[in-house]
């Protein structure tokens, strides 16, 4: 456990030494995502007072929350460091360490969350002054705590879902397309593009059963007080169940992959 936190600490220090371009990119990305969402919401609400159980400001608050939650949950997903280790043959040195490779990488991902948390703090500071607490939203210390718990599970679930995809690098020359494909599906079915309450009612049981909701929309619903304690508990149980499934799949893929790993790199 000490090793886990040491690795996380090293990664956090490394990430906080980022230069101005990292923070500029982050700010522009946040501004653009929110800008597009703002105008979509404005266009949708031009003829309606409530949609999917949200008022106009309520839906805007949902988008602010989900954009920031997604940053914390995804962490370093698009850096495909694991696939890169396999391509370059850098995995060899990790295989000699007396600790699991997956745990090492997860520790690094936890460390990489520090700039994401700083972004959440900075980019959400304006929200209480501009949006306040819209009608139908219940934001309390209890809902914030529920959200924090859900985000921790969501981060682990996201890591465990993308881990076996990156391990495809044992067989394929390039797996970034698969990671992007996962991202596209997760954005749609996880509620980043649109609140899931706008989806047709027949699709709701499916959305609740799939893992994507628990990565993004579920922590936000918890934060905005849209979940009862029973719904929260069952959601967390489903998310943990998916973590278990993804961990088993990862272990199986890892076993098969390392059997044919040659360590020569590209």
């Amino acid at each position: 456990m000490r090793l886990f936190w040491n690795i996380a600490g090293i990664e956090a220090r490394k990430r906080m030494s980022y230069r101005a371009d990292f923070w500029l990119n982050s700010l522009v990305a946040f501004g653009t995502e929110l800008g597009v969402a703002y105008f979509i919401v404005a266009a949708m609400f031009s003829g309606a007072d409530r949609l999917g159980g949200y008022s106009r400001n309520g839906m805007l608050l949902y988008y602010v929350a989900i954009i920031l939650v997604a940053r914390v949950v995804r962490s370093t997903d698009l850096e495909w460091a694991i696939a890169d280790d396999i391509y370059q043959g850098a995995l060899s040195r990790y295989l000699l360490y007396p600790v699991s490779y997956g745990v090492l990488k997860y520790a690094a991902q936890i460390g990489a969350l520090l700039p994401a948390f700083v972004q959440v703090a900075l980019f959400s500071a304006w929200v209480p002054f501009v949006l306040g607490i819209p009608e139908g939203i219940r934001l309390t210390p209890a809902t914030a705590a529920m959200c924090l718990g859900a985000v921790m599970v969501a981060n682990a679930l996201h890591f465990l879902m993308t881990y076996p995809i990156q391990l495809v690098a044992f067989w394929a020359d390039n797996c970034w397309n698969l990671l992007i494909a996962h991202r596209l599906v997760a954005m749609l079915l996880g509620g980043i593009l649109l609140p899931l309450s706008l989806f047709p009612s027949w699709s709701q049981p499916l959305l609740n059963a799939l893992p994507f909701r628990y990565m993004f929309a579920f922590p936000v619903d918890a934060l905005l007080g849209r979940l009862s304690v029973a719904e929260y508990a069952s959601g967390m149980a489903i998310a943990l169940g998916w973590c278990g499934v993804a961990a088993m799949l990862s272990a199986a893929v890892w076993r098969r992959g390392t059997l044919q790993y040659t360590g020569v790199g590209m």
């Binding site: 995502e33 404005a42 266009a43 020359d173 390039n174 397309n177």
Partner: protein, 262 residues
């Protein structure tokens, strides 16, 4: 001109033979782009379950717009994406020398050398979806209007390329991993949304200094609202300005390039 066409023919032949060597990647990319198309269509389909108009367009018009977005994206992914992805690496590692000593335009060579053969399948798919969206449109769309639409879309593709280059070329000075590419990809989200939903200064910005709304949304507006000389002049003028700016920044960048590991 003939020499450049012949050279491009060689690029195509080489790219297809290389793509068939990496078969997994070939299919993964097709899979990814297919999901991207589905993700867009489902997004608009769900939006229109809750509203009849978005930015002044009906769902049928929005599907035509989405078809245009797919077409423009497929052109970009097939013809220039791989090349522009590698450009910062060449600059940072000093590998640009190889391209600069060739007896052809370095901008041409670096922008078009790698034709993404796997994305070519997606280009065919995008054309299919684009045709489907036009065919299912309930109103009358004349052949001339559709031809003008495709012409304006191709102009939009050129503008998209120029913008991407303008955001990538600063790598000559910044020596970062991608210049201002991340910012470009963030702003590029505006390309896939109709400009009618934007208002105020954001809309003005998106049709002038950051002309992402001109790439697909303007040509689609011309298809439904009627082609006007003002609209064509606007799109052509902004594209020409972006092209000249790109060429100017490129020449300045080459002057700043100091070869190996600069």
């Amino acid at each position: 001109m003939i020499r450049y066409l012949r050279l491009y023919g060689y690029f195509l032949r080489f790219s297809f033979s290389r793509a068939m060597e990496f078969r997994f990647d070939f299919f993964f990319r097709i899979f990814m782009d297919t999901l991207w198309y589905g993700h867009h269509l489902v997004f608009f389909w769900i939006l229109y379950r809750h509203t009849s108009l978005l930015g002044g367009w009906t769902v049928d018009q929005m599907f035509v717009f989405a078809g245009g977005v797919f077409f423009a994206d497929a052109i970009q992914m097939t013809m220039v994406a791989n090349n522009l992805w590698m450009l910062p690496n060449y600059v940072n590692k000093g590998d640009l020398d190889y391209y600069l000593v060739r007896p052809v335009s370095s901008l041409f060579f670096l922008s078009l050398r790698d034709f993404a053969a796997n994305s070519f399948v997606n280009l065919l798919m995008a054309i299919g979806l684009f045709t489907w969206a036009l065919a299912r449109f309930p109103g009358p769309l004349g052949g001339g209007a559709v031809a003008a639409y495709v012409g304006l879309l191709l102009l939009g593709c050129l503008l998209h390329y120029c913008l991407q280059m303008i955001f990538t070329i600063p790598v000559f000075w910044l020596h970062s991993s991608g210049g201002l590419r991340e910012i470009f990809w963030s702003l590029d989200r505006y390309t896939s949304r109709p400009h009618g939903i934007f208002t105020g200064w954001v809309r003005k910005l998106l049709v002038s200094l950051l002309p992402f709304a001109l790439i697909v949304s303007f040509p689609t507006a011309a298809l439904f609202g009627g082609l006007t000389w003002r609209l064509v002049a606007h799109l052509a003028g902004v594209t020409a300005a972006a092209f000249l700016l790109m060429v100017w920044i490129w020449s300045r960048g080459l002057r700043a390039y100091s070869s190996a590991s600069s």
